[in-house]
Symmetry: C2
């Protein structure tokens, strides 16, 4: 019986060649040739104001938290249905996390519920473009402007995805908020093993971001000849990845369109194959709002309840198919449960209990997909 794993990293074939070149450059620490190539790729293709590669998306979020100058008692609003790093990055700076619920029909933050969570201590809203699907950024940015808040886009899953605003203008995700964070972890569309990137759209953050990136020193300005000595001027960390990582990433970026085309085919195939089950009402399929688009980061289905999902996972496992659930509500985590303000977040809990991600990777063949689709159909036909 074919074994169908959940994820398989894709390799373009040029990764090793570019790493060899990075070695030949005799510069494999941070900010070498390939780091610069990656930065300019993103800045040109998506119009991001300023890009800085980081060792992970977690680290990009930590840079964002440092840039916001958060202090003990400051509040940051973010969804409870997200990866721990979305919250941890801000907890590390002493902020209080105010968890918001998901929408009823989508795991992303419910824009309508944010206003009631804003207090005089609120400093920022962090939105997560879950599955690469845009949040309603017009509403978020309006709230932010009204209350003088910063918006950070956790765009970990959202490479090459877009938002169409009220005026009909299509903008790349990561270009709308004041800051944005991307991931190149090996589970993403474009990978470098571990890796991430901070995008700085608000120009007032650019100079300080460079300093924080370089361990709190003004080394970047020094190399540009703007200061004649460099030293310790701010807090910071070593956020730069090795140029080996950047070389690997660049080899992937060159194949971005090719990768995206194939992934979208896989996504469409799942959607059409499972549509009959959705029409019967036994599962729900992902919904893409009109203002969003699909970057084919993942394919998930929504089961009726946790028991049905557990049965389905077990059935698929018996067919050698590895389907996996996703985030567990952070407001109920061991770490945060006591710190949470007791509000119920039922939609978040619902998606924690019922969302199931299907095998999804570049090399997944139509035949393998059919095996997955048929197994799910078989499961529900037995009911």
């Amino acid at each position: 019986m074919t074994n169908i794993g959940f994820n398989k990293p894709y390799f373009s074939g040029s990764e090793i060649m570019y790493i060899q070149d990075a070695v030949a450059q005799k510069h494999i620490s941070g900010n070498g040739k390939y780091t610069k190539l990656c930065h300019s790729f993103f800045e040109k293709r998506y119009g991001f104001r300023k890009c800085l590669l980081t060792t992970s998306c977690t680290d990009a979020l930590e840079m964002a938290a440092i840039l916001l100058d958060l202090k003990e008692g400051d509040e940051v609003i973010l969804p409870s249905f997200t990866f721990v790093s979305t919250a941890n990055a801000f907890v590390l700076r002493g902020a209080k996390i105010i968890f918001s619920d998901s929408r009823t029909n989508h795991p992303a933050i419910d824009e309508e519920k944010i206003a009631s969570l804003i207090t005089p201590n609120t400093k920022a809203i962090v939105v997560v473009h879950y599955a690469g699907v845009a949040c309603n950024m017009d509403k978020i940015m309006e709230l932010a402007t009204e209350h003088n808040l910063f918006v950070i886009e956790d765009a970990a899953q959202a490479i090459d995805s877009f938002y169409t605003n009220n005026e009909g203008i299509k903008k790349p995700l990561g270009s709308v908020g004041h800051l944005a964070a991307f991931s190149f972890h090996e589970t993403k569309n474009i990978i470098s093993g571990e890796g991430g990137m901070l995008v700085i759209n608000d120009p007032k953050f650019i100079d300080r971001a460079e300093i924080i990136w370089e361990k709190g020193t003004n080394r970047s300005a020094f190399f540009r000849g703007e200061v004649d000595k460099y030293g310790w001027v701010d807090i910071g960390s070593s956020f730069l990845p090795s140029d080996i990582i950047a070389a690997f990433l660049y080899a992937q970026l060159e194949r971005l369109d090719y990768i995206q085309t194939r992934r979208k085919e896989i996504w469409e195939n799942y959607f059409l194959g499972l549509l009959p089950l959705a029409e019967r009402g036994v599962i729900q399929l992902p919904q893409i709002p009109e203002y969003a688009c699909n970057n084919a980061h993942m394919f998930y289905i929504i089961c009726k309840d946790i028991d049905k999902r557990t049965e389905l996972v077990d059935f698929l496992k018996s067919q050698n198919i590895n389907a996996v659930f996703h985030y567990q509500s952070l407001h109920k985590s061991k770490f945060y449960e006591e710190k949470h303000d007791n509000r119920k977040l039922p939609n978040c809990d619902f998606f924690s209990d019922t969302l199931l991600r299907l095998p999804f990777y570049f090399e997944l063949s139509v035949e393998e997909q059919d095996i997955v689709i048929n197994a799910i159909k078989e499961f529900f036909n037995q009911q």
Copy 2:
């Protein structure tokens, strides 16, 4: 005229092969095959209790700071003559840095001056084994025991270096303090571009270190089958490097003895070649205390004053030789000057002004070294 750079990264030749293997394993995120090989290399060779690769030495120091549970107002004693990250890692946790002076004859922390800096708020002492030369660890550990403090070894430069204690027992640096941090930045003896490692010698920190390493989740315990679900249990970050980085590092570790033998020859050659100048009293050469040994991380000379050093740097530059100074006193940095308690740290300032590092890398030939030695001799003979 030959151009002699300050540093050239060394490549063993197996790095690319191991990266290809990591890719073939289809596991290039953190904690893959090569990460585990690196961990066990260090644990076996040096008897380190527990090792965790990190994306940088900075990040290893940040893990140490998190493990110490530092709170606002806690004090950490460390030398002012060090890299910014030694201090930044603890500042990020809200600690107050109490800078200590260097010894008169060595840039490392003056063990005799630490006692007077200890207050009821002191939580830890961070020692830096500058140039890979051991600090007097018996004295440091005695102070720590007496005052119930933690000791962190900043062993960024100290791979394969040793300390001989009062009882004549020779211990690897990084195995003496409660925690230790190593660097594999491309300027070090063993490199991975960017990279580091946390060593945990005090067993009470091991479980939590694994959690902090894995973004504050108990994922490691989950994969060992110790818990049946993993979630958010603590603060943390994404400290794991990609297995691509670990594969690169492992190729270097296999050549450790070979690399060290050659580097020690280079060091000895500099020492003997420059001894006549030291005997004339125009420069000082590095001193290795009896309890320490030489891991040939760098070769430095000490000039009479900053003017002499500037003249020498310029003269060497005119001969196409790149010699560079090192740390600038952190207590006088733009970031910390106002936070420092006004104590003068004259030895630290002296080494900031007078220490000069000579070109030093694996491939540096005897002929190139002779050019450097002769240029320095020529400079002082002109005086």
